[in-house]
């Protein structure tokens, strides 16, 4: 079933049928009703490719996911982000096209996406410090929105991000208020921009109370259970071990908890753990009313929604002015933190 035959059946021209279905005013309401009725009855949906070719709009948003041996971007956070963005795309009639590329080919992938014209814009994930993608996209002239920010870049660009500095500064202050002085940071991978910012918040809070940084208490890595466990265990074995851990993800926090328990200590009493919680769909921090871990909480799915909405707005308005949105994390109290044990 296509436009032409539908038009023939109705005794109308394709022009009129097209206009009726797309809500143009130069068609009488009577025929519009007749046309929509017939279209529904015939389960007619205009061919996407033809529509795209005629309008020059791909009605699709690209996500490029680099895959490397070094580490995985296809992680749990990514899945939830995608889900949030996908909701918005679906509502707005956009397709989501995912491209998995070996990370050596990433730049080429953007260029091809552009020149093949199969997306109207792209969403950029997991920016690193001094990430080169922004300059590349600028030169391509392809609309984009960044999930996160890039510390090394001066020029302005569109982004949605959590206020990571503030979140981790508050978290650190919270632990300091509980009289913790040996606070460890189990961070995400060091050249990820969000990890850099979290560390900055942590350092700022310590500096404000004139507490010297102890490099032994700062680690980084892929945010897995094993990372949390191994790094926490190593730090607990130090001569002067930390009394509190700040972790970058729920998985790391779970690993840290295991290390704490293995050491015969009680979480929340002997050792406090405070983590960032992305509110992943399948990895809950207890219940909303009763969290297990005290956490800085910010929904990554919501971030996905906002990124998508922002990108679509940019595309449809044709506006190239960069816009941005900073989300604040809330600090929720769980059972994993308590006053520092007195020595």
């Amino acid at each position: 079933m296509n436009l032409k035959t539908l038009a023939q059946e109705l005794g109308l021209s394709p022009t009129t049928v097209s206009r009726a279905l797309n809500g143009y005013p130069e068609v009488s309401e009577a025929t519009r009703a007749r046309v929509t009725a017939a279209a529904n009855a015939a389960h007619y949906h205009p061919n996407t490719q033809a529509k795209r070719l005629a309008t020059g709009r791909a009605m699709a948003i690209g996500h490029i996911i680099p895959i490397s041996d070094r580490h995985e971007i296809v992680n749990p956070v990514f899945a939830d982000f995608i889900a949030g963005a996908g909701e918005v795309y679906a509502r707005s009639g956009y397709d989501m096209v995912l491209t998995i590329v070996p990370d050596a080919d990433e730049a080429r992938a953007y260029g091809e996406l552009r020149s093949k014209g199969n997306v109207d814009g792209v969403l950029i994930h997991a920016p690193r410090v001094n990430d080169h993608r922004i300059t590349m996209l600028e030169s391509l002239g392809l609309p984009y929105v960044l999930h996160g920010r890039i510390s090394g870049i001066e020029s302005s660009y569109s982004w949605v991000d959590v206020n990571n500095v503030r979140a981790f500064e508050r978290a650190t202050n919270f632990l300091l208020d509980l009289r913790h002085r040996r606070i460890a940071l189990i961070n995400g991978i060091g050249d990820m921009d969000f990890a850099r910012r979290r560390r900055r918040g942590y350092e700022r809070a310590l500096a404000a109370r004139a507490i010297a940084l102890d490099p032994q208490l700062i680690t980084e890595g892929e945010m897995t259970e094993a990372q949390g466990h191994d790094q926490a265990r190593a730090m607990l074995a130090l001569p002067d071990p930390p009394t509190a851990f700040l972790t970058a993800s729920l998985l790391s926090a779970m690993g840290a908890r295991r290390a704490v328990e293995e050491a015969g200590l009680v979480m929340g009493r002997d050792v406090s753990i405070l983590t960032h919680d992305d509110e992943l769909g399948y990895l809950k921090n207890g219940t909303a009313q009763e969290p297990i871990f005290t956490a800085t909480r910010s929904s990554v799915r919501e971030a996905g929604r906002r990124c998508a909405a922002m990108l679509i707005a940019q595309i449809e308005s044709g506006n190239r002015q960069p816009i941005s949105e900073l989300m604040e994390a809330v600090l929720v109290l769980g059972q994993s933190t308590g006053p520092a044990p007195s020595r």
Copy 2:
């Protein structure tokens, strides 16, 4: 830059240029070389929409992801599966288009995908018992491959699946050989087909040794850390608690381990845990040489690759004969299992 202008610059007709680039034989090697050189220099890539319209092939595979309040399909397993499939798509020149829909609209989404013609086929995730999607896709005439199987359906269809029955039968037998008699099953959601099959394997092994099923030792649910923890804790509090747990995912196993440790027991000595491990990229079961949990192991990413390859093969061959592939899980030995403690 488009075909026409490229052809003009070369002093050739669009026909010839198109043929040169697409490898048709009726063009001399000399001009083909000249054309490809010019195309590369100009960074020319044929417009995807136009190509699709002209060829009638979308060069895209659809994944429909229903989203419900009840539970999340956007889970970690999904992310890894997607990554595997995406690798194959990228190599074969296909796009991956993800559609997120409220699960009430799922059927409609397939219909639209079909009639709008923006995919050449679809990959079906997470089949349930008596899943209706197969019959629907058959009637739509849209090529598909199923990741998993559907117990209630007699007709044949294309699928890739792990031999879940056998995996869990072997796992159960392994525990039985270690003299465990109270073996608990912490399963995935009950109406998921894979959960049903795993349970069948478990039941079959017990039946073979004439051990009665104890419904108190069988639970199901979303495979999260909390599920593993809560359900294991409840079972450990029974008058006659299990000495071994069989869990459906690494996350559940981690939860179960926590419950075991909270009860003052030692995993691998007092209580054994054996889990299924999907080999997720960011959720490793220790290292390959030294697993933490004894596990039935099968890479879901590899499953994604095989599903994608199978679907593309079907599409390109035009073959509508159902094909299928059964993957066997391997049983790897970790530190989480040991002989049943003597009473």
